[in-house]
Symmetry: C2
Subunit: 357 residues, 2 copies
């Protein structure tokens, strides 16, 4: 194995993690030698109901039977239960864990990775500091803690469909041409097309925020609100997403919102994503989202409620909740403080309708 071969590690092995591991695993196998074929995928060890260890099952059956069942993962993807072992030789670290675990995972990785590595985050979510109200993105935490650059990738990429090789596209945030080329080699295929923009943070933020609006799409559907209303919810929600991004950071590229990371991811997530489905069920059954997670998600969690909470806190700190009624109401519904129907009643009073052009 030539020492010039670069190695890739995945930090995470859930539904999306396993799908993208399979995709990258096939790509580097087909590239024959440009990259180290062994793709290590950190997998937090779990004992399955039948007593077997999850990593052992993945490495023997080449299938993540818990989080991406019925989809084969190529044999060169190796599940590794030891986080440090998984990443220590990696030149490229792909982060794909629930966002609430990013800080502690980065802390564990400090000084344990290659100095000239770079990261790519697929994580949906951000942190808002309870005291300072400061918003921190996952890419920023990775860069700050590990002292490596971090790219982002978001798009209309429902994991099971990616595993089934259904056509999709995604947006890469990168300000480094060499890193962009590497990511293109690792991920771009005829069924997974990439576009590149320097707006790392906007791309990442859109990927997080869309889960909140997708929940509203689910509530609308659960309440049988009709197509006109669902379209209005998505449009007004998309406006709030853009305004939220602009609060945080001015975009480099005005039409970044029309990329896969923006409108397309919002549409896909609002047609059939996990947050959409959970919210739909809540509106139909009046159950709490926590109960729905337990019933339907087999140990995975909804990212929408957490992001709604962080967004609420950020906007409340800036005294801007009135300008973001959809984000406000999404959080209040998740917390069972208002009924889903209330947000529909509030649509008519959306500040968008008082805004001059």
């Amino acid at each position: 194995m030539a020492s010039s071969q670069k190695s890739i590690a995945l930090v995470g092995s859930g539904n999306w993690g396993s799908a993208i591991a399979g995709h990258i695993g096939e790509k580097i196998r087909d590239l024959k030698g440009q990259y180290n074929e062994r793709l290590l995928m950190w997998c937090k060890e779990e004992t399955l109901d039948d007593g077997r260890k999850l990593t052992e099952v993945i490495n023997k059956e080449h299938e993540n039977v818990k989080y991406l069942p019925k989809q084969k993962i190529p044999e060169n993807v190796i599940a590794e239960p030891d986080l440090i072992k998984a990443v220590k030789d990696a030149d490229i670290l792909v982060f794909v864990i629930p966002h609430q675990f990013v800080k502690e995972t980065c802390e564990k990785l400090k000084d344990k990775i290659k100095k000239d590595a770079f990261a790519l985050t697929l994580v949906k979510g951000f942190y808002v500091d309870e005291k300072t109200n400061e918003l921190q993105l996952v890419s920023e935490i990775i860069t700050k803690t590990l002292n490596i650059p971090c790219l982002s990738m978001m798009g209309a990429n429902i994991a099971n469909e990616v595993a089934e090789k259904v056509f999709c596209e995604a947006t890469i945030g990168s300000r480094d041409d060499k890193h962009s080329e590497t990511v293109r080699e690792l991920i771009d295929t005829p069924v997974f097309r990439l576009r590149f923009y320097p707006d790392v943070e906007i791309i990442e933020m859109l990927g997080a925020l869309k889960n909140v609006i997708a929940m509203l799409a689910g509530f609308s559907e659960g309440l049988e609100a009709g197509f006109n209303t669902r379209a209005a919810v998505l449009r007004l929600g998309f406006r709030e997403m853009i305004n939220f991004c602009r609060l945080y950071k001015k975009e480099s590229t005005p039409d970044i919102y029309l990329e896969s990371c923006g409108i397309a991811d919002l549409i896909a997530s609002s047609l059939g994503g996990r947050n959409y489905n959970g919210a739909k069920k809540k509106a139909e059954t009046n159950k709490s989202l926590k109960d729905i997670e337990k019933e339907d998600l087999n140990g995975q969690s909804l990212q929408g409620p957490g992001t709604a909470k962080e967004a609420y806190q950020f906007l409340e700190g800036k005294k801007l909740l009135d300008q973001f009624p959809l984000f406000r109401d999404a959080h209040l519904i998740c917390e069972d403080k208002i009924k889903p129907k209330v947000f529909l009643d509030n649509l008519s009073k959306h500040p968008e309708f008082d805004r001059k052009q």
Copy 2:
């Protein structure tokens, strides 16, 4: 009846025409006297299967039993089979007929309307001259033939849902503040919110073009293409819609595309509009769109195939078909020259993926 009262006429009485007639009819009744309460709706006479005249049924039962069944229309909306009688005293003419009838209808109205009237078009479609390849919008034909200004209104407004008073919004194209105010009075309500922009032509064009992309959404769904692919089709199609508009006319307002006339109308039409449903059935059954129209539309027609044809011709004349593969393929599918599946296979080669940012 004070002579200062303004009168409104509807030119058209199909599915959307009847729904908006009901909406405006209620609004002017509630305004008590500011407008002439009698709203005349031109209705091309038809004999129903039971031998009755359509206008007589509408005026007796206050329901358009053929094109908007099961929805009551207020009694102050009067169906009038004589076109000239319907419009001769009108100060505001709302056009809502299939676009293929606009030219001949305007010719009939020449010199028959009030000189200081203005028009509002809700018509989806445009003309491309077969010889000169010149594109003409409905608003332009109305203004040129009748010598009156013409505003446009487009948005996520599936007719039956508007009749059911489900919340929706729409975008008005207007460059005259007084006309804008009148339209706001006539149409804006808590369940039908309006936003105003000067981009009359872009708004109108988006309303026409979205029917083509909605057909592609229907083909995708009929072929069980998955949410990621459907989202990519809508995004890439939306890009082509924007590029098409820019070919024709530079927008006044860059984010006009994020209004109800743009992304929201595209979403609603791609979730459940007539063109979407027809296209879905075509992909599922291999029937021709003409047959599907006959089976499902009770005398109404699909606007998507006509617009796809006009768009194809316009782009072909400009030698730009390669830059608009979705518009190109939509027309070829409608003409049964390629199978619906071909457009999905072409997605991967979309020129968007070669475009720098």
